[in-house]
């Protein structure tokens, strides 16, 4: 799945819905689908709020999602803008980043000539999602390798 949308508020739901549809098509359990929805929403909201703040018109929001060979769903959200910065008077990136880190198996932030790229990965298998929860927040980019049974948070 590859989407290029204008970085405006309405695009956040479009990107989220497309990612949810892909996760379901790949057989992800509903808990993982909910994680995908939340993390994609946060990553896209960062682009809408921060990437083109000094630009005359909203730039592009890129969302690229695919299944990797090893049971992961990889979603890359990217802009062509000014990079990650917080705005005075805004609650900023903190809460969104915390939510992404909590629900994604892997989270990487990258920079390329000012453009910002957020790479999120999710285990498509529910048991691994449970194991991840038991491990609390995984280190960025380091998904859980173990199949050890975890306990659900809730």
């Amino acid at each position: 799945m590859r989407l290029t949308l204008p970085a405006v508020p309405a695009s956040v739901a479009r990107a989220r819905h497309a990612a949810v549809a892909l996760a379901r098509a790949l057989g992800a359990p509903e808990r993982v689908v909910a994680d995908v929805a939340l993390a994609v929403s946060e990553a896209c909201t960062n682009v809408v709020e921060h990437a083109y703040r000094d630009a005359a018109a909203p730039g592009a929001l890129h969302v690229d999602a695919r299944a990797t060979g090893d049971g992961l769903l990889e979603i890359v959200v990217a802009d062509e803008g000014a990079g990650l910065r917080t705005r005075p008077g805004s609650a900023g990136l903190g809460m969104g980043l915390a939510l992404m880190a909590a629900v994604a198996t892997g989270l990487e932030l990258g920079h390329d000539a000012g453009a910002t790229r957020v790479r999120l990965t999710f285990c498509l298998r529910g048991e691994e999602a449970a194991a991840r929860d038991a491990e609390s927040v995984a280190a960025p980019g380091a998904g859980p390798e173990s199949d050890a049974a975890g306990t659900e948070r809730d």
Partner: protein, 113 residues
């Protein structure tokens, strides 16, 4: 769970009503950055109407992210400024999880579900 099946539908909507001096604002569908202004406007109207209590009902929300959390924190601050009591009706598991991850479930005045 019904709430999860609404993740790819559910346009956001706000409804408001009044019973005595309790003003109720009911949020439904998916609350993200695109819905924040509608929440602010509905709450501002409710607070202008001499409410003693503002009830913010999240039970019909199918999705919430940090934009929604910030909007709800803003509602709390505005209610405090006006000396209006705030009560939150909790959402389903997918919505409450966002409060739990951020620790806000301990801070915000949720009613028992």
């Amino acid at each position: 769970m019904a709430i999860d099946h609404d993740l790819d539908r559910g346009a956001f909507a706000v409804q408001a009503d009044q019973r005595g001096d309790t003003h109720r604002v009911v949020l439904s569908g998916e609350l993200d950055i695109a819905g924040v202004r509608a929440v602010e406007e509905a709450v501002a109207r409710a607070l202008d109407g001499r409410a003693a209590t503002l009830e913010l009902d999240l039970s019909q929300l199918s999705f919430l992210d940090s934009s929604g959390l910030r909007a709800i924190l803003d509602v709390r601050d505005r209610a405090r400024e006006r000396d209006v009591a705030l009560a939150l009706v909790p959402g389903g598991p997918a919505v409450q999880r966002v409060f739990q991850i951020t620790g806000l479930d301990e801070v915000l005045p949720f009613r028992a579900p």
